[in-house]
Subunit: 148 residues, 8 copies
């Protein structure tokens, strides 16, 4: 059994590396958005030309990033979305909604503090976790049928 | 030409009433989530029995609300999502992602302040507006072909 | 807001009538399988000719019943499945699986006794209830936004 | 020609091993749910934390198991569902309904005793069998075109 | 409960009229291909200009007829296909395959003589009948739940 | 039998009026893009604010127009696309491709002069015509089965 | 570029071998139904037990054959259907309809004699041919862009 | 991460070679229509027999070309469409519409001169570029997350 897993959301901590490292012995292909914040923000104008208006500056970048994220979500069996402590993170919630409508298995990761605000997102998840370790254990169980 | 429009997001101002009133002469069927905050939060435990754990309290409510919102989004031609000034509003972004994956036409309403944080959501919208008046003018143009 | 609701499962008590009666003031179109047990079992051979082998006797009937149930499930916004106290009721669980794969909103009704055996079915439901009254209250909330 | 086959249902006898062994020379990728009963029941609380209420205990586990079974059913060309002599086995009937709605080829295995109770499930199957040997012969015929 | 039924196949006897007349008290919308043989054969060249080559003569007509038949099959809940005693009737079998892939409920009508030649078509039908009367009885049972 | 027909393409002659008038006795609901050239070009900036860059000026307008055209094409049974004598008319060809991928029945109208350039578009059409009169005759045949 | 091609229809001549041999240097995976006439007719009763009624004898066999043919058609990029000189060949026309509804590219092969009877099937084909050589040339052109 | 990219449109300059060469170190599978103009125009009559009427001459060729292009667009993650300086290029706009309806990521390449005429096509693109170099940079960013 092999899985494709997309890691969406917060880009300021090393949660992706912890999951990928913890699952290194499993047959999983991981994908992620571009996590270089500067490149992600400026890719549009850097490649396609500058924009005086911030709206179009961001618009061009968001669309180029969508080429990667749409493909990765469409290909995924599981979409894991992490909500961090800061920022609005509306793109993370957007990804969760998008993945849900495509019928992907969702795992949501956040601290207890955000529980109430994320209740609609959690309600469609197959698991709600707080730590990367829980995700590693879920993936191991799902793929190997054993509880580490 | 008739349209079905779902009004998602912020529930603390009267933006829905402004749009519905402004479009009263057009052949549009509007739908919304339950906007009574207390009922929306407690419907699960009120009907299905109380839960000592807040997570399951919210879980039961979020799922009952989903019976209404899924139906309304699926039936809609256009999904309008308003992001207000306060709160995380992750359910609004989730609805936007869900509607986008279903191929619905999206209109996003928010103040300039949230422009950068909403860039991925705005990038899939067919219009990004700040006021209900703009939405009324869009609906009039789309349905009647005239610029009021 | 109007809904189409399919009432699947147990046919030996009047739970359907209780729900339909309790929702009489709401804009809901209900549908059900044929609940006349004898007609349901024998429709195949009665119309298409007798079969010496019980397997084909049942096969002919099950397929004619499927003309009605497939249409009703496909048209439904909500599928309510009741598991009664007796019998295997595999067709009820089959309907739940079928409806789930089509993305329908599921409400499951059963007594506490069957909780463990129905855990996979309950896990995809948007509400798990024990009584018709709970369903009437859910439908009222979903359609009118009020908690009776 | 290669096939993907999902083996759903009863976990107390070695029917899966008999089929896999009988088909060992064919180009088939088999998948199954987790068949360790204890792990399957407790995976949710073991990984995500205990629950005082049995409903949520089971709910958490059923959802984690769904990550594996949904993927396996979605990927399958053929879904084989075995109903054993005991228990309600509603998850087996649910899987059959789910697979049917996705258009998968279904093979159902059960003893003659359950024929009438399974008539709706049998009616959508492409073959109804009693033994693993029959399934091995079907797979050989389907893949090689010969009758062993 | 209302149904849409498409009547495909043989155009030389009055089987359509018998069914429509027998179901006159039921809420069914029937549709059919154009059954005027001459118009059906010549519609292409009559409207779009003559063709010296019979292949293109027929091609133009078949495509114009497809505007009607595709719409009618797509809209139908049930597709009834009758195979008569004469001719190749490949378009009838084509319609059956087309409807089957769209998940429509199929009823096939033919005399015993064609049983072996139609086994693949019959195998996907929910009922195989010989007479219009049987179809009237099926529709009455499916819609009213009674065996006339 | 009733049809929904979308009239795409050239906006400088009265071909739409000729078709609608010729079909006035038939049960057809026609829809069209906004055909007021000025409004169509400027709707974006008129409602959402001016843009110094012509690309974004047009971008805003094209997206608002898409709210109408996507809905109309999705709802249509038949999409009729007329290519006129002048201009690039890439939006007409785009609509034809879009409608084709959605499985709509296509009718293409153009003069003989454009035959070679439109060969890929014509190849997916169910009819290729030169005049509105031919379309009126096709619609009459498709709906009434008679050749006027 | 690689293709999957399903070869449906007539089983009494060596047209499949001619095509496979002619395309031996191309990256094509061919599939076919079981072409051993006796095995194809009797697989159902041979594996699942005899039936006194010919209808169920054929029914069991047709369903087991469907496990193979549905998978092969679903996986195919191109479905080639040959109509031979004899027999009703309704399963060939059924396959063509089934493949057409799934959006597969169809190539139809038959002699001129059957042109009129096959006009509806030919009308959805991307090529209508008389000989295996034409198909080899089409496949070479489609894959290599050259006219042998 | 690997991508499949279809290169549609203008065939008179070496833009395809520039992109393929610039992306040679990336894991991309490129596909294209047949770009030999003569073969593309005449493949139909060359293989299937000559036609006195130019319409059917082109019709046969366009359909054989569609076997290749449909497959390539369906398989693609990204469809890049280039509009050149000359000709109507309606097939390019048709491909863009077709790809858009299938949910493919679109990149459109054209000179500034065609901006207004292509506004509806540009409006659905995730990037609008003028040169192959921009596309190489986009692909590098999308796949590697770096801005060359």
């Amino acid at each position: 059994m092999s899985f494709r897993v997309y890691l969406s959301g917060e880009i300021h901590t090393d949660w992706r590396e912890q999951i990928i490292s913890g699952c290194s012995s499993m047959d999983i292909i991981f994908s992620s958005p571009v996590t270089d914040h500067g490149a992600s923000d400026d890719c549009g104008v850097d490649i396609l030309g500058s924009e005086p208006n911030k709206f179009w500056h961001d618009h061009k970048g968001a669309k180029i990033n969508a080429i990667r994220t749409r493909k990765a979500i469409s290909d995924a069996d599981i979409v894991i979305v992490r909500f961090g402590e800061k920022y609005k993170q509306w793109n993370a919630a957007f990804d969760a909604g998008y993945a849900s409508a495509l019928g992907k298995s969702l795992i949501i990761m956040h601290s207890a503090e955000h529980q109430h605000a994320l209740k609609e997102v959690d309600a469609v998840a197959l698991a709600v976790v707080e730590t990367p370790e829980e995700i590693v254990r879920i993936m191991n169980y799902v793929m190997n049928g054993t509880l580490l």
